[in-house]
């Protein structure tokens, strides 16, 4: 399978929630590219639309939410591994229809934010995994059970033959997350969306799970869309990074560039807000995440004029940033930023090259 081929392309995605209080623009013009076998890290403050973007990808947006604009193209690798692809426009599918359900859990699967509640407490771990296997693969129950045990063993679940018949509440948080990952990987998907899969876990377990995901990615040759608050994790996991702010991707490039040469003031703020381990311990500070950028995320109902980040931006340009919305600027191939600061430097950047 060729490496750098595009797997999923999100173009100008808008997902809005229509509430009585107003319209929540959860995702407001997102462009993203996920390549095969690659890990894309998605970072941003809480509420910036990371989860909604990923749910849009599987057409799982709950009402009153709706995709109002944009496209999600899935370049489905054909079975023969001959490099040819089928292009599926996910946004055009019926959200309850056959086609999308064939993709869900089979070609694109998802690991959710909270492992504690990701499985039904009244059905065994096995029942919930076997169900997914039997849904997408033509195998009988005994075979599905064998595969489920295999998968559990692969995610390093202790005593998989026994655990498969346990109920989720009999497992620890780390074990549950392993079970959930096993369930998501049980059909060998091309893309795994991991939505903060380790936030609820302790640091040791987190490290184990991250390790596990990386090795499974190599084994199965899948792409990962890794959503997180934690830039340290991004540095460890991802090859490509997208930084989101208020429903938009404000910067996307490879992981090295993000850390060495961040362009967007927001990205710069995010990076500098990571506490230096030694210092923060000396000052007795609690572990913080990203709330150290000046000000708060504005409430989701109001739409700001100009750049959504301008009220908090340290490098704001008067009469420009609060008036005109910045367009995507390709400062060089493979590095996109949405910021007026770079509008002069590169008048019109080259088109993205896949």
């Amino acid at each position: 399978m060729p490496e750098n081929q595009v797997l999923v392309e999100i173009k100008d995605l808008h997902t809005y929630f229509f509430l009585a209080e107003g319209v929540v623009r959860a995702v407001d013009g997102v462009d993203l590219v996920i390549k095969r076998r690659q890990t894309l890290g998605v970072v941003g403050e809480s509420g910036c639309g990371k989860s909604i973007t990923s749910l849009s990808l599987l057409r799982l947006i709950p009402p009153p939410g709706r995709i109002t604009q944009g496209e999600i193209l899935y370049y489905k690798p054909s079975a023969g591994d001959n490099g040819s692809v089928d292009v599926i426009n996910i946004t055009a599918l019926n959200p309850n229809g056959r086609e999308i359900r064939d993709i869900r859990g089979n070609q694109i699967s998802m690991v959710f934010q909270e492992p504690m509640t990701a499985m039904s407490p009244v059905r065994t771990v096995g029942q919930q995994i076997i169900e997914a296997i039997m849904l997408h693969q033509k195998v009988n129950k005994a075979e599905a059970r064998k595969r489920a045990i295999e998968m559990l063993a692969r995610v390093k679940m202790p005593k998989p033959e026994r655990t498969i018949d346990d109920y989720p509440f009999q497992l620890s948080g780390g074990m549950r997350q392993r079970a959930v990952i096993a369930m998501a990987l049980s059909c060998h998907p091309h893309l795994l969306i991991a939505d903060e899969p380790t936030t609820a876990l302790d640091v040791t377990t987190e490290a184990q799970i991250l390790d596990l995901m990386r090795s499974l990615q190599n084994e199965l040759g899948m792409a990962i869309m890794y959503i997180t608050h934690n830039l340290g994790v991004v540095a460890e996991m991802a090859e490509e990074v997208a930084v989101m702010y208020l429903g938009k991707v404000v910067e996307q490039t490879d992981v090295k560039t993000i850390f060495l040469e961040p362009l967007h003031p927001y990205t710069q703020g995010l990076l500098s807000s990571i506490p230096r381990l030694d210092e923060s311990i000396m000052r007795g500070e609690k572990r913080r995440r990203l709330q150290m950028i000046k000000g708060m995320v504005p409430d989701p109902y109001t739409r700001l004029k100009g750049c959504p980040f301008h009220p908090r931006c340290p490098k704001v340009i008067g009469d420009v940033c609060d008036q005109v919305e910045p367009a995507s600027i390709w400062v060089r191939p493979g590095h996109m930023v949405r910021c007026h600061l770079y509008a002069e430097a590169v008048k019109s950047g080259p088109a993205p090259s896949h």
Partner: protein
């Protein structure tokens, strides 16, 4: 990869990344605490159905309180010439098509030659306007102040106003319903009050003494909740002698109704008492020399007044229905006491209902009262629940 991680350590704080100052939370908190009941009230005001219910119940209780004045006639007054009369039709346009203030026509009574039942025909030559503040049957308001003023009526004994018809004995159904409201609507209140006392005392005793007392109370509760309400009420009510004075029977009926009502409250009170013993602040209050009852009044009750209010409101409809059912069966209150259940005794068989369907009108009042109490309880519960906005 780990090379990237080391970058963070070297980075310096940039000007744009300021630590946010802690907001003025303490002020907000004080405001919140002061306004806790205010908050509940606001939330309640937003619950439209519950507000509507409160208004309807207000009207019903007003009627019950001022029944003598509001009802057009004495509920025991038998209009001999107007027995079993269907509800009067109220007109605003006479035979010549002229608009008038609301009035009724006179009635001519005849007998059905076959069934010998009274039949009424309108006599359009006689017009009786409906007036406000008319003189009529004498009464003693609340047994104290004699008067003969009624809110409305024809003011003419020749043609009484039967808005909901009259019964077999020629008594005005509407007046009887108004007087009946007095009994039917207070049975629930008093019953709930008794349950409240019982629940507080028994639950309190169980939680306070623990051990054997606790065990005994809990077993009694177990048994009581396993008995179906109505058969138990029936059995108890059947023990009331028929010849007791009205007031006494009424009082005992409310006691019977409250016999099942106290159990849930007692359970909660007991649980609170048990957990209270463990609390630190209670211990420190004890060390400060406060008495048990002071402690209970200071720390325990405030925390759960809202629960009590809601559960009491929810218990009222069951009692109203209980009284209705018992009196309907003839084992609760008896005539001459007037309650909605007693009135329905007259509507027990099909023939009566078919001939005098207006005798079923107390049903409408019973259902309305119960429905409104349910709405009110729902609204109160939502308002008192801190997690629902």
């Amino acid at each position: 990869m780990s090379g990237f991680l080391s970058i963070f350590k070297g980075k310096q704080q940039e000007p744009g990344a300021e630590v946010q100052a802690p907001s003025a939370q303490t002020k907000d908190e004080r405001f919140y605490r002061a306004g806790q009941w205010q908050l509940v009230w606001w939330k309640f005001r937003r619950h439209r159905l519950a507000n509507f219910a409160m208004i309807v119940l207000g009207i019903l209780y007003f009627i019950a309180a001022f029944a003598e004045f509001v009802s057009p006639y004495d509920p025991l007054h038998r209009f001999k010439d107007f027995s079993a009369k269907p509800p009067s039709v109220i007109y605003i346009r006479d035979t010549e098509g002229r608009l008038r203030l609301p009035f009724v026509y006179g009635a001519i009574r005849a007998r059905d030659p076959v069934t010998m039942r009274p039949v009424y025909k309108e006599d359009t030559t006689r017009i009786y306007p409906i007036k406000l503040f008319v003189r009529g049957d004498e009464y003693k308001f609340w047994g104290l102040f004699p008067s003969d003023l009624h809110l409305f009526g024809t003011g003419d004994p020749q043609m009484p106003l039967f808005i909901l018809g009259s019964d077999h004995l020629g008594r005005d159904v509407l007046s009887r319903i108004f007087y009946g409201a007095r009994i039917s609507l207070t049975v629930g209140l008093i019953g709930v009050f008794l349950s409240f006392i019982l629940g507080l005392v028994l639950g309190g005793l169980a939680g306070y003494f623990g051990g054997l007392v606790d065990e005994a109370v809990m077993r009694i509760i177990d048994v009581l909740v396993s008995l179906p309400a109505i058969p138990l009420w029936m059995a108890l009510a059947a023990a009331l002698p028929q010849d007791w004075p009205q007031l006494r029977t009424y009082f005992y009926v409310t006691i019977i109704l409250s016999i099942l009502g106290w159990t849930s409250l007692a359970r909660v009170v007991r649980g609170k008492m048990l957990s209270l013993r463990e609390e630190d602040y209670v211990m420190s209050a004890k060390l400060d020399g406060e008495s048990e009852w002071q402690i209970i009044a200071r720390y325990m009750l405030p925390g759960f007044t809202s629960y009590i209010i809601v559960s009491l409101t929810m218990a009222i409809p069951g009692m109203i229905l209980g009284e209705t059912a018992l009196s309907f069966l003839g084992i609760g209150l008896h005539p001459p006491t007037i309650s909605w259940g007693v009135m329905l005794q007259d509507a027990q068989n099909v023939q009566t209902i078919a001939q005098l369907p207006w005798l079923l009108t107390p049903v409408v009042f019973v259902i309305t009262a119960v429905l409104m109490f349910n709405f009110l309880g729902d609204g109160l519960r939502d308002a008192a629940d801190p997690y629902v906005t």
